[in-house]
């Protein structure tokens, strides 16, 4: 089984580029150049240098001793939460801003839900002195005021998406419309492993630094490169794609994906796309997505804004369909409990997205000798209000 994107932009049955003709020149330019750009020695050098000196990589692979004792297995946490800006998102925005520069673009647009990708994009635009416009759902702007302020402080313009349900999917629509209206000078930095080919592959490659580091870090600590399992939460799926990437072809490494069940998979308020979705087209790719029988895209729900997306990246749809990955869904309550548990066992307050991955122990029993690497994709600072309200702190 092949888990790489093919020359037509597909992972098995999923992917492609279902875009209006207006976007074709931009997406085609990217498609024909992204691999060459990423392979240029000067690009690699600049990318690696920024990841090291600016982002603070490598992020530690931390053996979580007390968490391991509690769950009777060996748990390592990949500390993406320690990156500059507080999550894995910046790995991709650093990569894409360098691509944009080489394509001669002088205007950047992005979509954001919780604001993490917006902040990561605003950050690299400030770093490079490039104009930045972030689309964010009107409802999310109200829910995520601190991140809106961060983006503004970094010099970005935050434009409210007022169409449809006024959340992440609508912010993505607005960003796509902006790109249609500005076809020459603008690069669109998509924040997840979604969108038309080559975005899912490009984002996955930039995030693959996560699994690249896990391999040599684990070798140092355990004397072997491959864990028994890698675990990550999935909204669109960029941290998961990066966490899995270098293990995809090794069947001895179990791949575990954790989606947000919200208030329960069958509650009507959920974001468990693999359970509730059907094949369809969203934001330029064929993938699993939540929709009505009539093909209208529905609004998902999760307590975690970063998992609140009605689709999932095409790589993950392929991993699901081919059964390469095990998919689990975790409710708001179980995720919040897992976040509290990590805080009190290890002194690390995780992002609520990452708390979903940490809740895997409720559903999956590991052997004592198993090595389980969990992607701690982000830190919980941005979620303090939600934690406060939930736990009445």
């Amino acid at each position: 089984m092949n888990y790489q994107v093919n020359e037509k932009g597909y992972y098995g049955d999923f992917g492609g580029a279902y875009i209006p003709e207006m976007l074709y020149p931009n997406v085609e330019e990217l498609r024909t150049t992204y691999l060459d750009i990423m392979n240029e020695p000067s690009f690699k050098k600049e990318f690696d240098q920024l990841l090291k000196d600016y982002v603070g990589r490598p992020s530690p692979l931390y053996f979580a001793k007390r968490l391991s004792e509690k769950h009777n297995t060996k748990v390592y946490l990949k500390r993406e939460d320690l990156n500059h800006t507080g999550a894995h998102k910046v790995n991709n925005t650093i990569g894409q801003i360098l691509v944009a520069k080489r394509l001669g673009k002088n205007r950047i647009i992005a979509e954001t839900g919780a604001g993490q990708h917006g902040v990561a994009t605003a950050t690299v635009c400030a770093l490079m002195g490039i104009k930045c416009i972030v689309y964010m759902g009107e409802i999310d702007i109200k829910r995520q005021a601190p991140n809106v302020a961060r983006m503004k402080m970094l010099g970005a313009e935050v434009r409210p998406a007022k169409s449809g349900s006024k959340t992440l999917k609508d912010a993505t629509n607005e960003a796509i419309r902006d790109w249609i209206n500005n076809p020459v000078d603008t690069h669109y930095i998509i924040g997840s492993a979604i969108g038309p080919h080559p975005y899912p592959d490009m984002v996955t490659r930039f995030q693959s630094i996560i699994s690249e580091e896990i391999k040599w870090q684990l070798k140092e600590k355990e004397g072997k490169e491959n864990p028994d399992y890698v675990v990550a939460c999935i909204g669109g799926g960029s941290n998961a794609a990066g966490t899995y990437y270098h293990f995809l072809d090794n069947p001895n490494v179990g791949i575990i994906a954790v989606e947000a069940a919200g208030k329960g998979v069958d509650s009507g308020e959920s974001a468990a796309t693999s359970q509730l979705g059907k094949e369809g087209i969203i934001h330029g790719c064929k993938t699993l997505l939540m929709q009505t029988p009539d093909g209208q895209i529905t609004e998902p729900y999760s307590i975690s804004a970063g998992l609140d997306y009605p689709g999932v990246g095409p790589l993950h749809s392929h991993l699901y369909k081919t059964k390469r990955a095990e998919f689990y869904s975790v409710t708001d309550d179980d995720a919040m409990a897992a976040g509290l548990e990590l805080s009190q066992l290890e002194g690390i307050i995780p992002a609520i997205e990452s708390s979903h991955a940490l809740a895997i122990f409720n559903d999956k029993k590991f052997k004592p000798e198993d090595i389980v690497v969990i992607s701690l994709s982000g830190r919980g600072d941005k979620d303090l209000d939600t934690y406060i309200n939930y736990f009445k702190l």
Binding site: G16, A17, Y18, I19, P20, E21, M22, Y24, P25, S163, G164, K169, D170, N173, I176, R177, I180, N181, N182, P183, V184, K278, E279, G280, I281, I282, H283, G284, Q291, P293, D294, G295, Q296, I297, T298
Partner: protein, 253 residues
């Protein structure tokens, strides 16, 4: 012979009108189509509403949201149109995004279109290469003409490919924009119109996006075979509902 071909052979500039099915009211579809034909419109694009119309500007977005809220579905649209050929003769094209058609089933969708007397489809997010590889055979089996878009940024080479795959007309997007964005055409558009004319394509071109009045209609049809009006007509429907369609059409040509 497909009605689109017959209409394209007429010795005049064609006026084509787009509206969103189910807007302003759920059951306006048939009346709007009949009134447009009665008032001399040459071709109609019936918009199948979608929750996430990413090539559309605010006017068509809002009409789509309203239509869905009114209860419009693919099945209901087909139901509304089942007797349309008893009263309407001009070409009817369904314009919509690919996902609702996929969920209906592409073959079933095409079969239903043929049964009703739909002549063609415009699907902005189904690119020409995907169509050519996977769907062309099915569309043609049911006698449907699929219409592709080109824009000022489309290369000559790609326009030639689109011209090759097309068998009706080419939808020439007037400028780099979503629908409804422009009020007049400047030099850039004129140069683009002339560039396309000079390519001598086998398919005639019909200009859309940004056509809103007599001035833009005249400019666009100087070189092209016709023009499509969408957002401006939706605005008319928002203001007047289904009355005064005759005045709207008269104001264009």
């Amino acid at each position: 012979m497909n009605r689109i071909h017959t209409t394209l052979e007429q010795d005049k500039k064609l006026l084509s009108i787009y509206f969103t099915a189910g807007y302003p009211s759920l059951n306006d579809t048939v009346k709007i189509i009949q009134d447009l034909e009665k008032n001399g419109v040459d071709m109609i694009e019936i918009g199948l509403p979608f929750s996430d119309p990413l090539a559309d500007g605010p006017t068509i977005q809002e009409s789509s949201t309203a239509a869905l809220k009114n209860g419009m579905t693919t099945q209901l649209l087909f139901e509304q149109l089942k007797d349309i050929r008893k009263s309407v003769n001009i070409p009817l094209i369904i314009m919509g995004y690919f996902n609702p058609m996929m969920q209906y089933g592409i073959e079933a969708f095409c079969a239903k279109c043929q049964e009703i007397g739909i002549d063609g489809l415009i699907i902005p997010d189904l690119p020409v290469n995907e169509y050519h590889e996977h769907y062309q055979e099915t569309f043609e089996k049911y006698g449907l003409i699929n219409v592709f878009l080109i824009t000022p940024q489309t290369s000559d080479e790609r326009i030639r490919f689109i011209d090759d795959v097309s068998n009706g007309f080419i939808y020439m997007v007037s400028s780099a924009s979503t629908t409804g964005a422009k009020s007049t055409f400047g030099n850039t558009q004129q140069q683009y119109f002339e560039r396309i004319e000079a390519l001598n394509l086998k398919n005639p071109q019909i200009v859309g996006f940004g056509i809103s009045n007599n001035e833009t209609f005249t400019q666009a049809t100087k070189t092209a075979k016709g023009a499509i009006i969408g957002s401006a007509f939706i605005k008319h429907l928002t203001q007047h509902e289904t009355s005064n369609i005759n005045n709207f059409v008269k104001s264009i040509r």
